[in-house]
């Protein structure tokens, strides 16, 4: 069961964050690369408006590097950070095409269209840094092929200027056709990625926080602009191209900024963890803990379940076994592990997965409370189990009694009646022989006595009249046979569950017997009613009260019977003020 639970696990992080030195080195490399780019642009012999170009390039590369480093540090488990860093550096590499020397120019040119592929990759891989679905992997693979592979082919054919080092032929028209195909392909892939993002957002539910929504929107907008830019290139819209390029760069650079805002906002959201810690100080019970976690995570739909190793099952807060839902778009599952063992699981809005730090922080803060909560739930599960087994024992007993009564009725009793019938006929045929007649009479009265005794035995085994005709009919005879006058008030419409009826019958039967034996009462009353899904049976006498525990054995058995059905039996017996027995038995 645990193995099949599809989910993210929270426990010890599986990847260590890279050392600070490494991160600083990469950050410095980013700044150096920015410097180099600016220098290249200013010195280039083929870049118009070099200052603006350098600034645009820095805008879409340095924030990716820095944002990526922060993400990497914060979420070492996610590949999203390294991917952003790679995207930033790829942008730098592509700027080498501004160099005048052949080698860097060639390398820069080869990387010219890698950034669009990388951006598609980065945006689709949010937030885990991994491409989880085959269609995403296919789009990204196709984008790399088009952005890099086809680029090399184009360069080999001498497209985009003949000065690169890998030109082996000069086929400008073929190269141009290839370029058109390349740009259109890339732009289609970018639009496909936008469609995926939109679909994912629809399936995943509304993001819990606005900053996450903003981030995904900025991804989609950047991809749309990239697609527009590529199409403008493909169809050589010379006039508009430069403007579109600037706007695109501007938009693409927004994504890492939105990401940083999201991190900041997540940090603010994590201040709710502080409130959580305060709430946990009050040692909440499982439902309170769930509420506190739901508030801290900002997900009111949160469900908390516990893993009970002894039952080898997940259980809800009442200790009832539950199965983890299949992983679908509607709910996400986060397993909380402790020492390599499952402890609990959160079933939550899938968009919470975009905020792993918050989940980590909340579950870490709640660790002790979760352990305590599990003990609560385990106890409840045991109580639940015991109740079930008691109910089964009593039901089995009742079933057996019913069977015995039935056997008596259809067997011995029926045969004795048939026998006495034959004796009756025999008597009719007999002459006036007084000796024979008196023997026959004796035999008949023996049979009559046996039948009477059998009837009492059968009634003691199982009140067939209750199963056959309901509680009201059964109680009528009980009240008539009672040792004191009984006021009977049965407010019941129709039948209820037979187990409930039989239990109620025994409550009245035993209570009235006690009235006769102990109470010295002058009268008693029996009231049966149905309210709020419960059958309420009350037997009250006006006797001496003060029932001692000795007469409790019968009551104990009654209590077992009533409690096994989820009900309650209570006895009030103040000395000198009579006795009141009341059973409340659920009857849906």
């Amino acid at each position: 069961m645990a193995a099949s639970a599809p989910s993210r696990s929270i426990g010890r992080p599986t990847h260590q964050a890279p050392g600070l030195a490494v991160l600083w080195a990469l950050a410095i490399a980013g700044f150096v690369a920015t410097g180099v780019t600016v220098a290249l642009a200013l010195r280039s012999d083929h870049v118009t408006e070099p200052g603006l170009q350098a600034a645009l390039l820095a805008w879409v590369s340095l924030p990716y590097v820095l944002g990526g480093l922060i993400a990497w540090r914060r979420r070492p488990d996610s590949r999203f950070g390294p991917l952003m860093v790679a995207a930033g550096f790829a942008m730098f590499v592509s700027s080498l095409q501004w160099a005048s020397a052949a080698l860097p120019y060639t390398v820069g040119l080869a990387f010219d269209l890698v950034p669009p592929a990388l951006f598609i990759h980065v945006f689709l891989a949010f937030p885990s840094g991994r491409l989880e679905r085959p269609v995403e992997r296919a789009i990204v693979a196709a984008a790399y092929s088009a952005g890099f592979g086809v680029q090399l082919l184009k360069m080999a054919l001498g497209g985009v200027g003949g000065d690169n080092l890998i030109t082996i032929a000069s086929e400008p028209s073929a190269a141009l056709t290839i370029q058109k195909f390349q740009l259109i392909t890339l732009s289609v892939l970018a639009l496909a990625a936008v469609a995926l993002l939109v679909a994912r957002r629809r399936a995943g539910g509304r993001p819990l926080r606005r900053s996450v929504a903003l981030l995904v929107d900025s991804f989609a907008l950047a991809l749309v602009m990239i697609a527009v830019l590529l199409l403008a290139g493909a169809f050589e819209l010379v006039g508009a191209f430069e403007t579109i390029r600037r706007v695109t760069f501007g938009v693409v650079g927004i994504a890492p900024v939105a990401f940083l805002i999201g991190l900041l906002d997540a940090k603010l959201a994590r201040s709710s963890v502080g409130d959580l810690v305060v709430e946990l100080d009050a040692d909440p019970n499982p439902p309170e803990l769930r509420d506190a976690l739901a508030r801290a995570l900002g997900d009111p739909s949160l469900t908390l379940v516990y893993w009970l190793p002894e039952f080898d099952s997940w259980a809800d807060l009442e200790g009832r076994p539950v199965a983890l839902p299949e992983q679908d778009g509607a709910r996400a599952t986060t397993l909380i592990d402790r020492d390599g063992q499952h402890l609990a699981a959160l079933l939550h809005n899938p968009s919470l997965r975009d905020e792993p730090e918050l989940l980590d922080a909340v579950t870490a803060a709640a660790a002790i409370a979760l352990e305590n909560g599990r003990l609560h739930v385990e106890l409840r599960a045991r109580v639940e189990e015991l109740r079930g087994s008691r109910q089964r024992v009593i039901e089995a007993g009742q079933h057996e009694r019913r069977r015995l009564e039935r056997n008596l009725h259809d067997g011995a009793q029926q045969r004795l009646i048939a026998l006495s019938l034959e004796l009756g006929r025999l008597e009719e045929q007999l002459g006036a022989d007084p000796v024979a007649r008196s023997s026959l009479d004796k035999a008949r009265s023996e049979i009559a006595l046996s039948l009477e005794e059998l009837r009492d035995v059968a009634r003691g085994i199982h009140p067939a009249v209750v199963s056959g005709h309901g509680l009201a009919v059964g109680l009528e005879s009980l009240a008539a046979r009672a040792p004191v006058p009984v006021r009977l008030d049965v407010g019941l419409d129709g039948r209820v569950d037979e187990r409930v009826e039989v239990a109620a019958y025994y409550v009245v039967c035993e209570s009235l017997a006690n009235v006769g034996k102990h109470a010295q009462a002058r009268s008693a009353s029996v009231a049966v009613s149905r309210a709020n899904g419960e059958l309420v049976v009350e037997v009250v006498d006006d006797g001496v009260g003060g029932a001692d525990s000795e007469r409790g054995t019968g009551l104990r058995g009654l209590a077992d019977r009533v409690e096994a059905l989820g009900g309650r039996l209570r006895v009030w017996t103040p000395r000198g003020e009579g006795t009141r027995v009341r059973a409340d038995i659920p009857c849906a």
Binding site: D410, I417, S420, L421, L423, A448, H469
Partner: protein, 214 residues
């Protein structure tokens, strides 16, 4: 007298049929279930139907339901319910608002052939037959303020017989007294219990039972 019998025990059903046959009754239908009995009552129109209270398929209340249905739809057909236990609550359900042509007896009563056939004939003729156990349960019922205490032992005996559905003649025969004496006892009993004297013998059965039950 034409009789229909519903009883799922073959032994008893056939014994009952023989017994009634010996007594000169015509058993026009024998069946095992309540539904079957209702069909046969529809087609044979007997004078009286004898029904076991516990019949297949569930052995719960099929017999009683069949009896109540016949009483509702065939008022001319007497219904005698037999059972291995007698319950006051069931008697009251069966009689509901009239004891005409209704009987409820312990199965044991079959052994006294004369009494039993007499009860069948009484029910067939629109009278009633209530098991003495029911009456004695009611009579022994504890009451805080008990007008029954005012009855003489003889009056008590008459009341018991009256409540089981005996006619005045039946009571006279049973107690070996004259019909006139019975009539005197009856009016004295009604007077002491404060009951209005009623017409038919089966009507007074219900009146007495209801009085004793309250």
């Amino acid at each position: 007298m034409r009789v229909a019998i519903a009883e799922d025990s073959v032994l008893l059903r056939e014994g009952l049929a023989r017994l009634l046959g010996d007594a000169g009754c015509e058993v026009v239908a024998q069946c095992e279930t309540g539904d079957d009995l209702i069909r046969k009552v529809n087609s044979h129109d007997p004078d009286v139907a004898i029904v076991d209270i516990r019949l297949p398929p569930t052995h719960n209340d099929e017999g009683l339901r069949a009896a109540l249905e016949i009483r509702e739809h065939h008022p001319s057909v007497g219904v005698l319910v037999l059972s291995q236990y007698v319950e006051l609550g069931l008697a009251m359900r069966l009689l509901a608002d009239s004891a005409d042509g209704a009987g409820y007896l312990l199965k044991d009563r079959i052994s006294d052939v004369g009494e039993f056939v007499g009860a069948v004939e009484r029910v067939a003729a629109g009278g009633s037959a209530i098991d003495p156990i029911i009456v004695s349960t009611l009579l022994s019922r504890k009451r805080s303020d008990d007008p029954l205490a005012q009855l003489t032992p003889r009056e008590r005996e008459v009341l018991e017989l009256m409540a089981t559905g005996s006619s005045n003649q039946g009571i006279a025969d049973a107690l070996v007294i004259t019909l006139r004496a019975v009539e005197k006892y009856v009016s004295s009993i009604f007077g002491k219990l404060g009951l209005p004297s009623t017409g038919t013998e089966s009507r007074r059965v219900l009146a007495v039972l209801l009085y004793l039950r309250s």
